[in-house]
């Protein structure tokens, strides 16, 4: 009897797993799923320049913040904070805090940087305020409008310009004094990137900041040691361009080039599976993939090679944190388009390495991936919940505009939610020690501290 039961069990397991494989093949054909093509890693002079600029806090007004501060390699190019803390912060990742007496101003969660060179990327930032209009003619739509510097390579390069000039991210404010000293004689030097408090327009302010950043990096007449190093690096990265012709676009293009190569998801289990290695992902991950592309409807928004449609949706996320307007509210895409239909909609985040980039959603309100999937299962969850002050967590217009695609609920069981999470974990890329040493520089031209996590924090 035991032998009979054993054979029945084996038959059931084998037939179920065959069934899953058949259905998954069907999904692969239906959606034309292919392994993600990733650019070959190559260390060239432009990469080295981009790497130095990405990690050098000298690009920030107070010399306390670099791109790497909120896009930490050890946190999969994010920072593990609900909303990022840029300048005036101390510590890194979940241990980063603002200087005493300051309050958090930055409204949104730090987006990861994986595979942003992919052709499917049309818009960057949670509200998509940097958009590619014509990739061939390199026409972009940005808040800078006609003031956008010429010669930018792609959307990633355009994006790189904006944190540099935001007061709460990297720029700081007029009159700031850096607590991060350069070598003698620069102790507690004034923020030279913000030359005055008031400008005729926001665009004029940004253009001035751009000029000052270039001056800070390349110098003018009295050259400091980092000016000399950066000039050498620029010459190698952009042969034939004279120092007087360098613009902030060259800085942004180099950072973008570094990001494209450093933050590419190489060797993921899911891509191996799509390449034909049928045992690359577990039975649970396969079941999760079937749900992702089927009953779970995740693919309705998480489509394409990066698992994002780069469109905008309201998923029933209540206000949390400082908000975009400083009063706790964040209207998302509406702040870019002014279109009522876009209120509370945010850009679909790509999902490669998503299991490593908690917390989730535009304001980081959900702390782990399982809860994030559970929220998608019931996007109206917060609509009848109260805040501590007795008010509802969501306003009526927020609730009304929740995406009808998900509003009726997905009815996923706990097991099915776990299976989707397991599938999402199969999108993690493996990181070799060799690659790690190529991405993390030993030092930067300014000799300022590099923001990286130590062994215990990893």
């Amino acid at each position: 009897m035991r032998i009979l039961l054993f054979f029945v069990a084996i038959f059931t397991i084998v037939s179920c797993s065959n069934n899953t494989d058949i259905k998954l093949d069907r999904a692969i054909k239906h959606y034309n799923l292919k392994p993600l093509a990733v650019r070959k890693f190559e260390e060239d002079p432009k990469y080295r320049l981009g790497q130095a600029l990405f990690f050098d806090t000298i690009l920030s007004g107070n010399r306390d913040t670099s791109c790497a501060t909120c896009h930490l390699w050890g946190r999969a190019s994010s920072d593990n904070l609900p909303v990022s803390i840029g300048t005036y912060g101390k510590g890194l990742a979940e241990n980063r805090f603002l200087d005493e007496g300051r309050t958090i101003e930055h409204p949104r969660n730090s987006l990861d940087l994986w595979n942003r060179d992919n052709n499917s990327v049309r818009a960057l930032f949670w509200d998509g305020r940097v958009e590619m209009i014509d990739p061939d003619k390199r026409i972009f739509r940005t808040p800078m409008e006609d003031y956008l510097p010429a010669g930018l390579d792609n959307t990633l390069a355009v994006q790189a310009l904006f944190p540099l000039v935001r007061p709460d991210e990297m720029l700081g404010r007029f009159g700031d004094r850096s607590s991060n000293d350069l070598l003698f004689p620069h102790n507690n030097q004034l923020n030279t990137l913000v030359t005055r408090e008031a400008f005729s327009s926001e665009k004029e302010r940004i253009l001035d900041a751009n000029r000052q950043i270039l001056l800070r990096i390349l110098g003018d007449t009295d050259l400091e040691y980092w000016h000399i190093k950066y000039r050498e690096m620029f010459d190698k990265a952009y042969p034939g361009v004279s120092h007087t012709n360098f613009t902030v676009a060259h800085i942004a293009n180099a950072i973008s080039h570094f990001e494209e190569l450093a933050f590419a998801t190489r060797q993921t289990d899911w891509d191996d599976f799509l390449s034909g290695q049928k045992d690359a992902i577990s039975k649970e991950a396969k079941a999760g993939a079937l749900l992702f592309y089927g009953k779970g409807k995740c693919v309705a928004c998480h489509s394409g090679p990066l698992m994002s449609d780069f469109n905008y949706h309201n998923l029933g996320i209540p206000d949390h944190g400082p908000g975009f307007d400083g009063n706790g509210k964040d209207y998302g895409r509406y702040t870019v388009t002014g279109n009522e239909k876009d209120k509370y909609r945010f850009r679909t985040p790509p999902l490669r390495n998503v299991s490593r980039t908690a917390p989730y959603f535009h304001n980081g309100i959900i702390t782990n991936l399982r809860d994030a999937v559970e929220h998608i299962n019931d996007v109206t969850f917060y609509s009848d919940k109260y805040k501590d002050d007795g008010n509802f967590m969501m306003r009526k217009d927020q609730i009304r505009s929740i995406s009808p695609i998900l509003k009726s609920g997905l009815e996923l069981s706990d097991v099915e939610i776990e299976q989707i999470v397991t599938f999402l974990e199969s999108l993690e890329s493996s990181i070799t020690q060799d690659l790690f040493t190529k991405i993390m520089p030993a030092s930067v031209p300014s000799n300022l501290e590099i923001h990286r996590l130590n062994e215990e924090e990893l």
Binding site: R26, H30, P404
Partner: protein, 118 residues
């Protein structure tokens, strides 16, 4: 005595199978049948409703929702496959139909897609 017990057990098994074989098979496949029926009816409902739920969405989202709805219609094929398998193994279509209707009785939003048209 031992031999008699074995003969009795085997006879009981055969008799039980002859009398209740269909029910035994159906019990084995019941969970699968109920699940497939719900998935299929959900897919039908989503397919019918896609224009309404994407009215304010971009063309790309409309296509994505359509692709997903179309893919989910595969569950109706899977249901038909399972139904054919059970019928070919001698289970009466009426018993299958009964279980299929039971599967959605608690979900009024699915009933209009599954109930026999009068």
């Amino acid at each position: 005595m031992k031999q008699l017990s074995i003969i009795f057990l085997l006879t009981s098994l055969f008799a039980g199978y002859a009398l209740f074989g269909d029910d035994m098979k159906l019990t084995f496949y019941k969970a699968d049948l109920l699940e497939q029926e719900k998935l299929c009816q959900n897919a039908k409902r989503d397919f019918m409703q896609q224009d309404n739920i994407t009215i304010n969405e971009s063309d790309e989202t409309k296509i994505n929702v359509f692709m997903n709805a179309k893919y989910n219609m595969n569950t109706c094929y899977d249901l038909e496959l399972l139904r054919s398998k059970l019928i070919s193994e001698g289970i009466s279509p009426e018993k299958i139909k009964y279980l299929e209707l039971k599967a959605i009785e608690s979900d009024s939003s699915l009933i209009e897609f599954a109930a026999p048209k009068t």
